[in-house]
């Protein structure tokens, strides 16, 4: 447990009209990039706010970096980028960043040094223009996002929590964010981010937790999650159009449960009793010219759709935001 950056044990949060988070438990290993995935209204932001001790859970315990999350001084070791970005519009960028750093207990001189480093690094300070001395509302939206990102990292936090970090980012900033996340991991920091964009999660995360309607659907290392959901999916390409014998094999319900037919390319899902090796033998026996026959893993996106879609139907909930 001590090597957990974050451990949630049975946390529950009820609001007047609904349960936002129900009995959620999860562990985030130190040094991991962890994805908190779920549709809108799943309880991601509520969970993050409870981790940050902005709101208290009705039940359960939260341990952050080995101490209870109510421990004094703990917030100074966390960095948080909220989903809805915003800054004091009338404030000078450098003063604003110094303010944010001082709120995290960084002394003014260290803060100034780091601010300059970051401004250089994210191209907010150049030979002809130093955006650090401009007011926030003179900056473009993309630049404001960079400033906010700097504010999240100025105090060199050990655990960084990013709530929907990619929403509203232009492609260049999104790339900068990914690069930074990878670099933070390299330096041994733990990064937790919530997102509903599975592509990013699949590429960046070591581990994920999928929640929907306040319930945990699944969690674990990305590779483990994917192999657990391996449904013996098969990608099949044929040389030329399928003969009637081949079509008959593909339509055998004893073998195949679901088929995505693209004429010469098929994505097949084996039925419960079907065996991929048996299928291959039958296809060749029917005279098919097989170009590609591959057992494929489902994408996180597919798993997400399958599991969350199912959970939503099972509970019959309306899924309010």
């Amino acid at each position: 447990m001590t090597d957990s950056a974050l451990a949630l044990r049975g946390i529950t949060k009820r609001f007047a009209e609904h349960v936002a988070v129900r009995e959620l438990s999860l562990d985030v290993p130190r040094g991991a990039v962890y994805g908190l995935l779920g549709p809108n209204g799943a309880g991601k932001t509520t969970t993050i706010r409870m981790i940050l001790n902005v709101i208290a859970p009705d039940a359960g315990t939260i341990t952050v970096l080995g101490t209870p999350n109510t421990a004094p001084g703990l917030l100074d070791r966390l960095g948080y980028l909220p989903e809805e970005r915003g800054l004091y519009k009338k404030m000078q960028v450098r003063r604003l960043l110094r303010f944010l750093a001082e709120l995290k207990g960084v002394d003014a001189r260290t803060a100034d040094r780091r601010i300059d480093e970051w401004l250089d690094r994210l191209a907010l300070r150049g030979p002809e223009k130093d955006w650090g001395s401009a007011k926030v509302d003179e900056l473009s939206r993309g630049m404001q996002q960079k400033v906010q990102f700097i504010g999240t990292l100025l105090h060199d936090p050990e655990l960084i929590i990013l709530d929907e970090p990619f929403s509203g980012l232009d492609p260049i900033n999104a790339q900068a964010l990914k690069d930074t996340v990878v670099e933070l991991k390299r330096r041994g920091k733990t990064v937790i981010f919530s997102t509903h964009l599975m592509d990013n999660a699949e590429r960046l995360c070591d581990s994920v937790c999928i929640i929907a309607h306040g319930d945990k659907v699944l969690d674990g290392a990305v590779a483990a999650v994917k192999s657990a959901h391996q449904r013996r999916n098969v990608a099949l390409s044929l040389e030329g159009a399928p003969s009637s014998e081949v079509t008959a094999v593909l339509q055998d319900p004893a073998l195949i449960w679901k088929m995505d037919d693209n004429n010469r390319y098929f994505e097949l899902e084996m039925s419960a009793s079907g065996d991929p090796q048996h299928l291959l033998r039958r296809l060749i026996g029917a005279g098919a010219q097989v170009q590609r026959f591959e057992l494929i893993q489902p994408s996180l996106h597919q798993i997400f759709l399958d599991r969350v879609g199912a959970a939503g139907v099972e509970e019959g909930m309306s899924g309010h935001g």
């Binding site: 709101i55 917030l75 915003g86 519009k89 944010l100 709120l103 906010q148």
Partner: protein
């Protein structure tokens, strides 16, 4: 604590750096200066332009009463009696002289004319017509000149020496006024009443202006979502406290600059007046301010400001838009307006039952009590009880507001109903 200081510092510096703050803070003393110098300047202009003597006297008395009035209108035998034109006529020529005088007044040659005849001598009756007939002050000066002239004329008729008559009838009366109330003699009349009213108004303005500044500040943090970032570093209580203290410090700084420059202006009024080519005002009625009053003023300002600032902060945390804010702030503003509505009746009669009650109610006490204190003597126990009441209400308002603030700051959308608000307070 270090973080509280960081929040206070930001609130204070960002506001003090604002150009409007600088403009208003500098403009304030200029305004004070104008208020102080202008009446003196105007009254001097008024004296120079005094046209009371610029009239025609149609004298049909046959005893030279017109000349006596003219002398008195122009400040005695040493004055410039030529300013007033005296036309001596026979009783049957009065009507013609009047119509001629009317034409002259219409042609702006004279301000008006005074008709004196035998009736004036027998029944003290005279008539005046002119452009300034509605000016009470000017009519009063003409009447008093006439009264004194008539008196002189009668005394002379009784055989008194004209020079003695002149000396005897030239009286100038000075009367000082002092209030007596149920509690005895107290205050120095109009001077301290105005001072008290100014203090009340200043306190009211400060609470309104800086309370609204808090409301706008909270709303800004909420609508720009900066609040989300900040509460991941400090608790909402620290943020609220820092905001209230920081903005309050700006208010105190502004008041200190204003009062300081007002006192400086008063100290250096003579050189300033000389520069403007005016004689220094002999006695500006500035009441003595006892140190007790100053201490009480500061206490009432801090507590009153804290009370309302917390309420305004709660309103800011409740709403998500400026339009909603204006509506939701109305109950709080009403409480404030309620106290300033009673300022005038209290100023007129600071020891009435109404004044007492209004000065005890914690929501109006911070504005009304300092005003009463500067007008009359308040027993120390009454003062202590009022201060305690305001302090307790302030604590309660801060406690309630902190809870509303904690929940509301991260809630967006519809304004909460009273029932939801009660739940916020419970669950926070």
């Amino acid at each position: 604590m270090a973080k509280l200081w960081t929040v206070i510092k930001r609130e204070f510096l960002e506001r003090v750096r604002n150009k409007w703050f600088i403009v208003v803070t500098i403009f304030g003393p200029v305004f004070f200066g104008v208020i102080m110098v202008l009446p003196a300047y105007l009254s001097m202009r008024g004296m120079r332009d005094a046209k009371v003597s610029d009239i025609r006297i149609i004298d049909a008395t046959g005893v030279g009463l017109g000349d006596r009035v003219a002398t008195r209108l122009n400040g005695g035998p040493m004055g410039d009696a030529a300013a007033t034109q005296v036309v001596v006529v026979a009783p049957n020529e009065v009507a013609a002289a009047e119509s001629l005088a009317t034409k002259d007044v219409m042609a702006k040659l004279r301000r008006g004319y005074l008709v004196l005849d035998s009736l004036t001598l027998q029944q003290q009756k005279a008539s005046y017509a002119g452009r300034n007939a509605s000016s009470l002050n000017e009519m009063e000066s003409i009447q008093s000149a006439l009264r004194s002239a008539l008196l002189g004329q009668r005394l002379e008729r009784e055989g008194l020496d004209p020079r003695r008559v002149e000396a005897l009838t030239r009286l100038k009366v000075q009367m000082s006024s002092e209030r007596i109330t149920d509690k005895g003699r107290g205050g120095s009349g109009i001077g301290s009443a105005i001072f008290g009213f100014l203090i009340a108004f200043l306190l009211y303005m400060m609470i309104v202006l800086y309370g609204q500044a808090i409301l706008r500040g909270v709303l800004e943090e909420k609508t720009t979502r900066v609040a989300e970032v900040i509460v991941s570093s400090v608790s909402t209580d620290v943020l609220l406290a820092g905001k209230v203290i920081g903005v309050g410090a700006v208010g105190l700084l502004q008041q200190a600059i204003w009062l300081g420059s007002a006192v400086a202006l008063y100290q250096f009024r003579e050189p300033i007046f000389l520069k403007l080519g005016m004689p220094a005002m002999p006695n500006l009625p500035l009441p003595q301010v006892p140190p007790m009053l100053i201490v009480a003023l500061v206490l009432f300002f801090i507590l009153g400001y804290g009370l309302y600032a917390a309420l305004f902060a709660a309103v800011g945390a409740m709403v998500s838009s400026q339009e909603d804010a204006n509506q939701a702030a109305q109950p709080v503003v009403m409480l404030l307006v309620f106290s300033i509505i009673f300022a005038q009746p209290v100023m007129i009669n600071p020891s009435s039952r109404l004044a007492e009650i209004v000065s005890w109610v914690p929501f109006s006490a911070p504005v009304i009590m300092p005003m009463r204190m500067s007008a009359i003597q308040i027993p120390w126990y009454e003062l202590a009880a009022t201060l305690t009441g305001v302090a307790l209400t302030c604590a309660l308002s801060v406690w309630l507001s902190a809870r509303i603030y904690r929940v509301g700051l991260l809630m967006y959308g519809k304004r909460p109903s009273l029932r939801e608000l009660a739940r916020w307070i419970r669950q926070a």
